[in-house]
């Protein structure tokens, strides 16, 4: 993994990556073409230190290709990538030991035990201190809940155990950045909960987490920042708090929407069954007005868009559909 990656000099050459002091993953005009198909079409990622970044997108939107480009597995057609302040894939040998990754499914050598698998993985690259290896492997197995698994070969593991082992591999060198692709795949609800707690704990101690997923709920519960990929384009990238910030309206739950309409008149923005959206960001004031007029109010809150609404508004349609120009090979 040496040599220059970028092949600029054509129109649309990438400007340098805009980065703040805290940028952990930054890309500039990152593109990947497979023949005529643009799998990734000029995206500018900005993941900052301390983020739990949710990278959302339908299947085939280019998520996996992007993750692979970040890690130097797929070589970009155009654009630049910076990981932990260094260019990728040129500086992969320096940067990647500081990155933990779970790429699509976990993969191990089935005939070997989990412990041997982790030991071999650690020994396969730089930055894994040989003297602390056995201790780190034990610690990380404990951390993901595989401490007592013993010498069973991995082929005897359940799907959830393999997922945990994959995560253990990513955590082996206490990485500054975790790149995870669908990390809760195959886990039972209890397991999902455990992993979520583990990731939040790691994030609290300073690990930046880049989480690629198509599960909106998972991202909504874990992430602080969100990027949405649609057909190879980054259509949205912002703080989750900003995206789901109050809209300036109040949501009123009432069995008598007609009465609300009569009392507040033009302030009513929408009526949806027993839910009425009213202009005004002060629920107390709305409540006072309605209750004062004798309207029964069963619930009252500031209106916030759900992540699902945000994503659906930004992304046009599922990329699994092959609509004309989207063409073959879009499913990468």
């Amino acid at each position: 993994m040496t040599g220059a990656l970028t092949t600029t000099g054509t129109p649309g050459a990438a400007p340098p990556v805009r980065r703040s002091a805290t940028t952990v993953i930054g890309t500039s005009n990152l593109r990947k073409r497979y023949g005529a198909v643009h799998a990734v079409d000029g995206i500018d990622l900005d993941v900052r230190a301390g983020d739990v970044y949710g990278f959302l997108g339908a299947n085939g939107s280019g998520k996996t290709t992007t993750v692979r480009m970040l890690l130097g597995l797929v070589l970009a057609t155009e654009g630049e990538i910076e990981l932990l302040g260094e260019p990728m894939p040129r500086a992969g040998r320096r940067v990647l030991p500081r990155v933990g990754a779970l790429i699509e499914n976990p993969a191990h050598y089935g005939h070997l035990s989990g412990r041997v698998n982790l030991t071999l993985l650690d020994a396969a690259g730089p930055g894994g201190d040989r003297r602390t290896r056995a201790d780190r492997v034990s610690a990380v197995l404990e951390q993901v809940g595989l401490g007592a698994v013993g010498r069973r070969p991995v082929k005897a593991y359940s799907l959830g155990m393999r997922q945990r082992l994959g995560l253990a591999g990513a955590l082996l060198r206490r990485p500054e950045l975790l790149v995870l692709d669908e990390p809760t795949n195959g886990l039972d609800p209890q397991g999902i909960h455990e992993i979520r707690d583990l990731l939040l704990e790691l994030n609290r101690t300073g690990t930046t987490v880049f989480l690629s997923s198509h599960l909106l709920a998972e991202v909504e519960q874990l992430c602080t920042r969100v990027g949405v990929l649609d057909r190879g384009r980054l259509v949205l990238q912002d703080e989750l708090a900003t995206l789901t910030a109050p809209t300036g309206a109040t949501l009123v739950q009432t069995p008598r929407p007609d009465l609300v309409h009569r009392v507040l008149g033009g302030r009513v923005l929408r009526v949806d069954g027993e839910r009425v959206v009213v202009h005004g960001a002060d629920p107390a004031e709305v409540n006072a007005a309605l209750v004062g007029a004798g309207v029964p109010v069963t619930g009252l809150e500031l209106e916030r868009p759900s992540l699902e609404e945000v994503v659906l508004a930004a992304a046009s349609s599922s990329a699994d559909r092959v609509d004309g120009a989207a063409g073959r090979g879009a499913g990468r």
């Binding site: 040599g3 220059a4 092949t7 073409r33 497979y34 023949g35 070589l75 057609t77």
Partner: protein, 375 residues
């Protein structure tokens, strides 16, 4: 398919360049020019004839395109002329040499010393001692270019020889010499020889011949070609050419070929002094009943053979493609090699073999003595 990125293209072109370089190397080495020398054909022939005491060792290959239809008897000769044979040789003098025919699974070595030869056959674990016979069936060592060249040129006249340029053979400058036999009876159209300029040792021999109807003749291809691939003109050690049967091996003695041993064949009328215009040669040690006719490259051997043996040979020749059957017997041309079983009126049978045309064989058969022989 993704388009080739510049880095990818660079690496692949690096590999491509390497392939080109390695592939071109052998052909470049092979094109080293050969130095020609201004030497006359007669001079070169004299050099070849004088090369019998040049010591050397070498690695040679012979390839014959002659498919002799012998599947039962004389298979050794049939293989010799139809197959590719690989030989190693160490030559100290005419009475001290060794030639191994090497195969993938063993070898057959012939070691010559002052009184005879040892033949070692590895796969049979057998060593055979033989004295030197004046006339015997050809064996692989006879196809060594050094030996064959001397033999072919020994009786050639100077007006049969022309010079033909030079070539690099086995890393040496070899001067070309072409022999076109003047004899009309000869089935050989010409022989190309390449002679080492420095020592006179023949490095390659190619025999062209046979009319187009003969079996195994490909126009423009030699019927027999033999040449050195490696040759080294330092004298080999005596220990290399010497032979002692290894412990445990079978040791046999070869009494010579019964067919060519006149003592065992019935009384025959003496063969004439000339057959079809070919003079009889006086070869010392050969039984009177066996006739060797011709001159130089045009050679014919006439051997009376017992009827039982003749029948076996006939059986094979009769069914061979290209065989001519008539009152005189059965004859066949394989490249420049003619072979005939001639039957006399009273059942006397003769084996005729040599480098003569089919017509010559026929006219020889017509002139054979018709009396004698139990048949």
């Amino acid at each position: 398919m993704p388009l080739l990125r510049p880095r990818s293209a660079l690496r692949w072109s690096l590999v491509g360049l390497l392939v080109l370089l390695l592939a071109a190397l052998p052909s470049l080495v092979g094109r080293l020019p050969a130095a020609d020398a201004d030497r006359s054909a007669a001079d070169l022939r004299a050099a070849v004839l004088a090369s019998g005491d040049v010591a050397f060792s070498g690695y040679a290959q012979s390839a014959g395109g002659l498919t002799l239809p012998l599947t039962d008897t004389f298979t050794g000769i049939a293989d010799l002329f139809s197959d590719r044979a690989t030989m190693r040789t160490w030559y100290r003098s005419a009475q001290d040499w060794r030639t191994d025919v090497v195969t993938a699974t063993g070898e057959t070595g012939t070691h010559r010393d002052a009184t005879g030869t040892w033949t070692w056959q590895y796969e049979d674990d057998e060593a055979t001692r033989a004295r030197v016979f004046p006339l015997s069936l050809p064996i692989a060592p006879d196809l060594l270019p050094s030996d064959l060249g001397r033999r072919l040129l020994s009786q050639a006249a100077d007006d049969e020889l022309t010079r033909t340029g030079a070539e690099r053979i086995a890393g040496r400058d070899a001067l070309g010499l072409r022999l076109v036999p003047a004899d009309v009876a000869s089935s050989v159209s010409h022989v190309d020889l390449w002679v080492d300029a420095a020592t006179g040792v023949t490095l390659r021999v190619e025999v062209f011949g046979g009319d187009a109807s003969a079996v195994g003749v490909v126009t423009g291809e030699p019927a027999l070609s033999t040449g050195f691939l490696d040759v080294d003109f330092t004298e080999p050690a005596a220990s290399v050419t010497a032979f002692t049967p290894p412990p445990g091996a079978d040791v046999e003695t070869d009494e010579g070929l019964p067919v060519l041993d006149g003592g065992r064949t019935p009384d025959q009328s003496p063969l004439p002094a000339e057959l079809a215009g070919l003079p009889r040669q006086d070869v010392e040690g050969v039984e009177r009943s066996v006739g060797v006719y011709g001159r130089g490259i045009t050679q014919l051997v006439v051997v009376p053979i017992p009827g039982r043996f003749a029948d076996r040979l006939r059986g094979q020749l009769d069914v061979a493609p290209g065989a001519v059957l008539d009152d005189l017997g059965v004859r066949l041309s394989a490249g420049p090699l003619g072979l005939m079983i001639a039957t006399g009126p009273r059942g006397a049978t003769y084996l005729l073999a040599g480098t003569v045309t089919s017509e010559t064989l026929a006219s020889v058969a017509g002139q054979l003595p018709t009396t004698g022989g139990r048949g």
